[in-house]
Assembly symmetry: C2
Homo-oligomer: 618 residues x 2
């Protein structure tokens, strides 16, 4: 068996060099140091090319996604993918074999590339295994350089907390990163740090197959999360590449390539691949998007008549969904009672996953958990669930997860906690996460419907809300607007009050204030229309074309430079509609700390200020 692995690895080394030289791009150095580990791991793990997505398969996450040549060549060697397609297509736009490994390629569980996130994803998969009572094992392969990322420290502790004996980390410790020796750039005492989080630590020679296989056996069978620190040599296998930082991200020239291949004792017809590549069309390949069927009982809507915060409606709806469905989970970052996951905690504590003040790790593992079949609510304050985890959610979006980012404490509605806590980017930031949709419900009744809706749809959603208790939105006759018969339709604009001469467009926690203003102005004989835009990314053109022609004011508890107002401007501009007057009210600077009642007044969001603005428009 060992002999066989050696032979496979030798062939893979050649493939690594061939594909990077053919592409004139890529990372051969780290690929050569990792290859013996990968060849061993894919041989050892319970995953097979004829059924690569079998639910019971072992999961392999390669966190340092830039060693894609090593991963692809291993997958080709074991029959997961076609070897010629890999070598000719590597890093070509028409090929699925991108620069960084991509989820959806058989044998690739997670798209990585932004370092330090892979272990969190693996932990999500390991927690999913425990929840599903599946016996699969999760292997995470990492580099030493990325071990410096703080998110890795967060992930380590999480593995201990949940006693993830179904998790093994393998570190390719080649001690070289882009700028030099890893130990000089930023020394990480790997053994000490993993032991501080109570992991088993095994150190091996990462080029000795017997040691690798034996370590994998121990790691798979012990009762703790285990890290295998594999001492390796960058560029291993080709004399002039060994232990040189130069080949981290630089392919060999043709001359160097010939020399290297002959050192490996192989011969490759590289011209064949160069010609195959030249024939490839310059076009975008189809994106690989794994998803699953959603079967969710969304239960019955809960109706709120008393003044309630949207958070409570959120917490109730999540608890209800978790009660009705076995595949609903929620992630908390030490804000249980504030984001109202305490309601879930009381009835289904096993479905509340508490990660503490470790938002990066929490967001990434939430994404992976959602990809494993769980409708996953990641609950947090807006500022942590959006701003702090911006890049983690971007990677979730890339991975086409099924995540519901439910953020409370958005806007100056946060109040006294002040500018560090005023989340003002809950509309704008998700625009960067292609595929994410944003919904900002206005009152507890709409919140309830929205939470049940997003649970029933595959895909990534942000549901954003404020902190304060709000009155339920009512129709002119005083009955509930979002009542038993209301059905949430994504993208629909709610016409709360009819009126076309002056129209207020708003969303979220401003709506109750705007409604108060409109109803009071009506008593003064001033008729003002009121639109609620709960879905700022997909604006209802028909409603806007009708209502946004004359005098328009957009009011939002959001950054005024990139929120609802800007999206409406853009939409109207493209519809070639220039209203007679268009005023945007929102937050244009870091706000101060204070009671949200005061802040709504100061920043022009309360009914008094809205009335003043309306009157100034007449």
């Amino acid at each position: 068996m060992i002999k066989n692995l050696e032979e496979i690895a030798r062939q893979c080394r050649a493939d690594i060099l061939t594909m990077t030289t053919v592409a004139a791009s890529g990372h051969p150095g780290g690929s050569m140091s990792s290859i013996d580990l990968l060849v061993s791991l894919y041989s050892f793990a319970n995953i097979f090319p004829n059924d690569p997505w079998n639910e019971k398969r072992d999961r392999i996450v390669v966190s340092h996604g830039h060693i894609s040549p090593a991963v692809y060549s291993t997958l080709a060697a074991y029959g997961f993918v076609n070897r010629d397609e890999v070598i000719a297509g590597f890093r070509h736009p028409s090929s699925i074999f991108e620069g960084h490994i991509t989820r959806g390629i058989p044998g690739v569980e997670w798209t990585t590339g932004n370092l330090g996130q892979g272990l969190s994803a693996g932990i999500g998969m390991a927690i999913a295994g425990k929840l599903k009572k599946e016996n699969y094992h999760v292997f995470v392969v990492m580099s030493d350089g990325e071990s410096a990322k703080g998110q890795v420290a967060e992930a380590r502790r999480t593995a201990r907390k949940f006693n993830l004996d179904n998790l093994t980390v393998i570190i390719d410790y080649n001690d070289i990163q882009i700028s030099g020796r890893a130990s000089n750039i930023m020394y990480v005492d790997l053994r000490e740090e993993y032991q501080a989080a109570d992991w088993n630590v095994i150190e091996i020679d990462g080029h000795d197959f017997e040691q690798i296989i034996s370590a994998l056996k121990i790691a798979k069978n012990d009762k703790k999360p285990t890290v295998i620190i594999a001492h390796t040599i960058i560029g291993k296998g080709v004399s002039f590449m060994e232990d040189t930082p130069k080949y981290h991200g630089k392919p060999l020239s043709l001359d160097e390539y010939e020399k290297a291949i002959s050192e490996l004792g192989l011969s490759v017809d590289i011209e064949k691949y160069i010609k195959m590549r030249e024939k490839l069309d310059i076009r975008e390949h189809k994106q690989l998007k794994l998803k699953y069927e959603i079967n969710i009982d969304t239960g019955n809507p809960k109706i709120y008549r008393e003044k309630t915060d949207n958070r409570t409606a959120l917490g109730n709806a999540i608890a209800d969904l978790a009660q009705l469905n076995n595949n609903v989970v929620a992630i908390d970052c030490d804000l249980k009672s504030s984001v109202k996951l305490d309601i879930l905690d009381k009835i289904k504590p096993e479905k509340l996953i508490e990660i503490g003040v470790q938002e990066h790790n929490a967001a990434a593992l939430a994404g992976a958990l959602s990809a494993e079949g769980f409708v996953t609510f990641f609950a947090d304050f807006g500022v942590f669930g959006i701003d702090e985890t911006f890049n983690q959610h971007r990677l979730n979006a890339i991975n086409n997860t099924n995540l519901k980012v439910v953020v409370t404490h958005c806007g100056v509605d946060v109040g006294e906690d002040g500018k560090t806590h005023h989340a003002l980017n809950y509309i704008s930031a998700p625009l960067a996460w292609f595929g994410f949709k944003v919904i900002v419900p206005a009152d507890p009744n709409q919140t309830d419907k929205v939470v049940r809706y997003v649970a029933s749809q595959y895909g990534n959603y942000v549901v954003a809300m404020g902190r304060s208790k709000v009155s339920s939105i009512t129709k002119p006759d005083g009955s509930l607007f979002f009542d038993e018969n209301y059905e949430f339709k994504y993208g629909k604009i709610d016409v709360i009050r009819d009126g076309e001469d002056i129209v207020i467009i708003t969303l979220g926690s401003v709506l109750p204030h705007a409604l108060k203003a409109v109803d009071e102005l009506a008593k003064e004989g001033i008729n003002v229309g009121l639109l609620n835009v709960s879905c700022p990314f997909d604006l209802d053109e028909e409603a806007l074309s009708r209502y946004a022609r004359n005098k328009v004011i957009v009011v939002e508890d959001h950054n005024v430079y990139n929120g609802l107002g800007t999206l409406i401007e853009s939409k109207l501009f493209n519809l070639k509609i220039l209203p007679d007057m268009f005023i945007k009210v929102g937050i244009d600077r870091f706000p101060v700390s204070g009671n949200s009642k005061y802040l709504f007044n100061i920043y022009g969001l309360d009914s008094e200020k809205i009335k003043e603005t309306i009157k100034s428009m007449i």
Copy 2:
């Protein structure tokens, strides 16, 4: 002395309770557990109310900014601030005593509140002390809950790497956080983790003044970074508050308050403060903005005639500035040769601060370093320097730092590294960081001018550029557009080619492609105007009013939903200008991996595709 500290702490405990009860908001629990530490520390440290910003002062960073009542009461006790103003104004919009402590209040070095960032800021200050050869000491007070943040692990290693014996961390280990016991929520083995990073560890009773002072003495004088783990009791000093999570973020009712004050053996006229508060105006207080004079020799511009990447111009300009000025530093995250800081490294290695793959910590410490008088370049790939560090830069902006975020590898110009590495938010994300300005230079000559310009201005800037080599932009006569006589003026739109019927508006790495298209179209008799918008946040209304009336195409290597095109739409909408035709070209989905030449073609950014689009507009 100890007796005195005890007495001060007793008074501070009363003040903590008074201000939170008067405000009906705030965090009394952790304030009570931290107060003995703070009272000791401000007494021990070399900082005095009569000259609180003395360059030689010890720096005290309180990372868990929500214990502001403890900080404010301590500052009042030692005469840094007025006690009545604190108690009556706490968390009121007209008061500088915000919910989270704010840089600029005498004795407060850093605005905190987003947990886990304070140690990085302290490290920035400690590195600044070493660079300035000042003997001050930096004390960072933290909570146990926030110790779970990965950024703290990054910071710890950084302290070891730079041998920061001028740094001491004090952890308020009360073992309570919002959702319960810290050790249950996410256990952090503090001693083991700090020892794994080779820190001195001292454990004390955080309510025993002798132990506190003695630990501070040891920590200040030893030759390593030291952590003092102070075991404390939340709510300490009031029987019914002790060791109860409930009072983490909840003030006492008036009844509870009376009981607590009497337990403390004090009497307070709380009515006086309630009345004082009632008289406060409901208005925004003036923001506290510390800054310093910039005296920078910006040197002589370097002229590039050959095809060069903007990164090289960046690296050369930074090296030149560091050669000419002692107060210029650059931060690298293991991308030295890619972001061209290797040029600086060769001539001034002591000014290149290498933090490794620890971007969160790097961004936060860079901000603090810039606040300490260093013109600080934080160099990184766009995806790490913008997306990954979104919330760190937001906190830098809040702290009014003088940071130059210089990001390379923006856009699909990154090429083969693919979607995880395509930074598409370098314009949109900084809109969230109020006060930040964005500049996207087009060629190496403009890059050189821009880098020298931002160094000469106090404030936060993003300078964003691509990866590829680009031709220098030329005038119609073939001479350099950004030549020796060109002066960069922030906000000015460069009219590269005149023409008003069809106008291309672009920036950055697309400009050379657009220029090629325009010059080739001219040969076909099609006259197209070309504008370069290097400052997308501050659009030149005059130029837009003149050139953007007829047929307009905006092309950008950026997310098309929130980039230059959207900002121009918003500007034209507000100028009430509806061009006859307006086309936006940019990236509307996660791109594939491939040579940037191919990607520019696929996504409509190269000269061929631009020409096609123009022709379709005629």
